[in-house]
Amino acid sequence: MSILRYIWHRGEGRFSLIVLGCWLIVCALSLVWTPQPLGQSDGYNTWASPSLAHPMGTDGTGRDMLSWLMAGSGTELQIVVATCVLAALIGVVFVSFSLARSGLVSEIATVITDTLLSIPIVLIALILAVPLGASILVVILSCAISYGLNLARIAKPQASLAATSRYVEAARAAGSSRWKALRTHVLPNLIPVFSVQLSICAGTAILAEAGLTYLGIGVPAGTASWGSSLSSSASFISIFPLTVVWPGALITVVVVALNLFGDCLRKAVDPVVNAQLRASEVRR
């Protein structure tokens, strides 16, 4: 709670919490209610301007934009959560291998990380799309692989510094095994790096979903997502700008909120910066 309180008391933190909170509420709401049924499309009412019946207008097939964006928020949440969890796992695994006692294992982990990092995310998605077809899984896996390796690369210097620190040596001198000492001392030191990188990863996963869906290898047709709403209307931006502005603005606001949240989280989990975290330790 002290972490959330710290974030809430900062302007940018409060903004990010409000935006992310609204996102979660809309996600939950869209599971039980949307203004119009998702399957309903009105062929006589395409590209409609905002009205009482369609507060954000309709798209080229006459579907209610607000309902589809509400339903799309759930898809984005799935993508963001799954990508971040998988990327964190990949990051931790590769960082652990790069800290291995054996120089060879560490060297191999570093070479694999660097080699795979040179492959662009679109190419990874294209390769995955061959067996999987256009699906959410392609977006999640390609983002997780790419960002997870990037995370490992960025966290490695910090991890190496902590692994060779005097306090890890002190932990081993107190009887901790090498693995336990690394787990207890290196991982907490990586939390600030991970919190910033994963928030960036969450934001870019939403952008990547929009991009990959635009290329036809992301979210399949018929599944609501902000990327698919954007890509289906992108060619008509000069004629019906609102149909692009709504999903575009939504993606921008959520990505900015995620980045600000990550920045505040990094400060919040650092006991040197966050006095409330230190105070909560006193109450423990």
Binding site: R166, Y167, A171, G175, R278
Partner: protein, 265 residues
């Protein structure tokens, strides 16, 4: 608890760090190991306790109450470290993790070696903090909230919480000011004596050693150059390495007392 090191060779690749080093720390004895920076003092302690990187080759013998430590398994070391042998490191600000409250760092050895519940562990930590002259409330503090002297007291509390029978203090007062050095050495000696433990006190400063060790070894260029009662080594060092260290200690003591008197004037 006794430690008998004999004919210890330590090398990194082809470069020897320690050659033919032998020393003993008797039961409830306080022994000093003095030498200039880079003479291999810390490497000796690390090699004996299996804390060296895999690139370091250790040969010879190190018996802890008859148990061979050279070539012992990681499990053996993990069982000994923190329970039978406690370490106090040089720079407390570096040897305490910046992101973990000090109380949890002190209770680490207890958690590793004894099956006590968290309430009992916290009670032991509070008692230990009071023993080293700190308030029990400081258990919730992070290292950056403490002074250098307080951090070293925390490090001593962490090393002594399991009542180990051998304490290895590696340059444990080097990073502290003169006044705090005196307090910390007094504290360490009284705690070690109260516990009936043995102490291997590693330092490059003879003036500190005189307050701590009954017997000392002078290490130079990876070899034991001289050994004997600390007082004798201070008064009449026999070797060049010993003479240089004593001279430096006298100069330091003289210059500090001179600057004190200048300040008073």
């Amino acid at each position: 608890m006794s430690l008998e090191v004999s004919k210890l060779h330590v090398s990194v690749g082809e470069t020897p760090i320690l050659e033919d080093v032998s020393l003993t720390v008797g039961d409830a004895e306080r022994v000093g190991l003095v030498g200039t920076s880079g003479s291999g003092k810390s490497m000796l302690a690390m090699s004996v306790m299996g804390l060296t990187p895999s690139t370091v080759r250790v040969e010879g013998s190190a018996l802890l109450d008859g148990q061979q430590l050279v070539g012992a398994s990681p499990q053996t070391f993990a069982d000994i470290r923190g329970r039978s042998v406690g370490f106090v490191f040089q720079d407390p600000s570096a040897s305490l993790s910046p992101v973990i409250p000090v109380g949890r760092q002190i209770e680490r050895s207890l958690k590793r070696h004894y099956s006590l519940n968290s309430k009992n562990r916290r009670a032991r930590v509070a008692t230990m903090l009071e023993k080293v002259g700190l308030s029990a409330d400081l258990a919730a503090s992070y290292p950056h909230e403490l002074s250098g002297g307080q951090q070293q007291r925390v490090a001593i509390a962490a090393a002594l919480i399991t009542s180990p029978k051998l304490i290895i203090a590696d340059e444990s007062t080097t990073a502290l000011d003169a006044m705090t050095q005196v307090q910390i050495t007094r504290l360490l000696v009284s705690l070690v004596d109260d516990a009936g433990a043995s102490l291997l006190f590693i330092t490059h400063d003879f003036s500190v050693l005189a307050r701590v060790a009954q017997r000392s070894y002078v290490l130079g260029e990876g070899r034991v150059q001289e050994e004997g009662p600390t007082q004798d080594l201070l008064e009449a060092p026999q070797t060049e390495a010993g003479k240089r260290l004593v001279l430096a200690a006298r100069k330091l003591t003289f210059s500090s007392s001179q600057s004190d008197s200048e300040r008073r004037q």
